[in-house]
Subunit: 262 residues, 3 copies
């Protein structure tokens, strides 16, 4: 696979405007993550403007964490705009297995063919219709259990599917990769997964989806490793993580990425 | 009273799913607090799913900080689910004395018999119908002024009432305790009170409400003391506070808790 | 111009209740900024109570970042209350140039004569009807390009207009000042501009709007300089920035303010 640092370099040179319709827990940290990596975040959800704003954006993320009816409508409007314009968008089906409502909204969003779907193993299993055991943002299933579901989902949607976990699994239904970068404190800071969606979206602009997603996830995991070196807990970790995203160079990304074909 | 460390140990062993319907200011820090202590937070408020999700949860918190009509409906639906299932829920009547609307919503929620009501002295006085002077999240009244109101409210609801302040007062209407742990920077970080509701909810699972609430509040105050040792201001304090919640062991809690009968 | 430290001293002595109707990204950090400076923040937006709550508040901020129809109505209700009572309110027209909807809502709010309008150059240009190039919270135009627009807008509204940037420009349409304090990491932390609105609002209580706004912006920029001295990136910066706001004395503000007539 090609040089991971290239994708970070290109993303920072572009500083893409990433439009996010995300949950209330993630809003602030996600904007801070996107600013730290060098992208330009915007959060816009009113139905009166969401399609118009999506039209100005280079990428979109949709996250159903704190879902509600008007927000679900806005998600569909923005995703349809991106799909129609051939621009990338990322779907994060938070807690999709927990309620019928989440399943219905996710099914409608899937029809708009997300460029990348990213979730934990339980969410990917639930989204693929396999009845996973997840209850919220936490994963109850191991990544390995969701690999076949990820491939099926990628085939069905024509997009990339990324399963987050201690070792991530990323596939477009044909090729697949594992990313081993990361740190155990990452799941102890809320919305780091949600915020990763924005980084993936920023990396997707003008790039092939599979290698760009792999590069974004390796970069993110390396930032976790750097932050974890000195952190005594999740508070100091969060602060150091933003600093690491800001400081990591394309060269460091290329040198430290732990990516293997799956 | 029994060993405070026991409650922390049990809570971490259970890692309860705590469903929170809280204000927009508190969402992120509350999720981070719950992850740091070892619980599993979820924020869900859509009327289409809120009762179903409450049914999956081991405890619930309701906070009226950034109240609005659809949210107030969701709060009632979720609280009714918990009350019906005999599972614990915590009410935080933020700024209840400030507007007629807050009083009306709080009165409806009180009928659903919260397991624990936690607020500052002004809020507890206002909730007990005594015309307090509070205007927002700040307390204008001292804790002592609200002790009789807290006991009355506990009698009326059959639950525990906790008054937060420099020295907390916690009562079930019969017994009462004071918790002297804490640090003066805690009120300088937003939503630490709101986030405490989640910790109390997590401690309540499978435990008697009064001692579990006392243990949760002592633990929280000790984390404030640890964080305050090195902090130069509220920014560093917030980060150190999350680290302290993560690091404090049951043994440290048992050794440092400053709890006295009232 | 008079002693800048005076305004900080007076604000802390008053500890004004600042009512904020702001975006979801800014809610938490804005409350933390207001607590760190010594004011008392409240976030209230329900139409059932927003005018009543504004009536209890000493100042108001309105920020259209994550706009939606019910929020826009609440903004008008609260601003009308403040305007009718002769109390200060601050408008931040986030991304006003991006969509027609933002322009419409901003035009309605302008009629309620904000005491201070604060934005980046692109937003001030767009608000003055000059067709700026801004797309979101980022400024695509330099501060100098918006000076004439700021003066026009101040004349039209009878208020103060503040253009944020590396060197801020603040005018009431007659006099004008530049504030050179600040740090390059400030735009890398989300919602620091939004949070500044709250500090300005707190400084406005009982003071002339132009010098109070200048003092608030100098204070904020000095806190950025202090925070930037040790920060390795935006994560550590944010934490140090809150500490600096908390620690800076009126004497430090008076000594370090870099304010010149424009």
């Amino acid at each position: 696979m090609d040089d991971k640092g290239h994708y970070l370099h290109q993303m920072r040179a572009t500083a893409p405007l990433v439009h996010n319709i995300t949950n209330f827990v993630a809003m602030n940290i996600m904007a801070n993550v996107l600013l730290a990596v060098g992208a330009s975040p915007a959060m816009v959800h009113a139905r009166a403007e969401v399609a118009e704003f999506a039209g100005l954006s280079q990428a979109l993320t949709v996250n159903i964490g704190t879902l509600d009816a008007p927000w679900a409508e806005a998600m569909e409007m923005a995703a349809a705009t991106m799909a129609g314009a051939g621009r990338p968008w990322v779907l994060d089906p938070v807690g999709v297995g927990a309620t019928r409502y989440r399943q219905d909204v996710s099914a409608r969003l899937l029809r708009l063919r997300p460029t990348v779907i990213r979730g934990n193993a339980s969410e990917i299993l639930a989204l693929a219709g396999l009845g996973a055991t997840g209850r919220g943002a936490d994963a109850a299933d191991p990544v390995e259990a969701a690999e076949a579901a990820a491939r099926d989902l990628a085939h069905a949607t024509g997009g990339v599917v990324a399963v987050s976990g201690p070792v991530d699994y990323i596939t477009d239904g044909r090729a697949a990769f594992r990313v081993a970068n990361g740190h155990p404190l990452m799941p102890r800071v809320t919305a780091l997964g949600c915020s990763l969606n924005g980084v993936i979206a920023a990396f997707l602009v003008g790039q092939d989806a599979l290698p760009a997603t792999v590069a974004a996830m390796a970069y993110y995991g390396i930032a976790g490793e750097v932050a974890g070196q000195a952190a005594k807990g999740p508070g100091g970790f969060q602060s150091a993580f933003l600093d690491a995203l800001y400081q990591i160079t394309p060269e460091v990304l290329a040198a430290r990425a732990m990516v293997t074909p799956a």
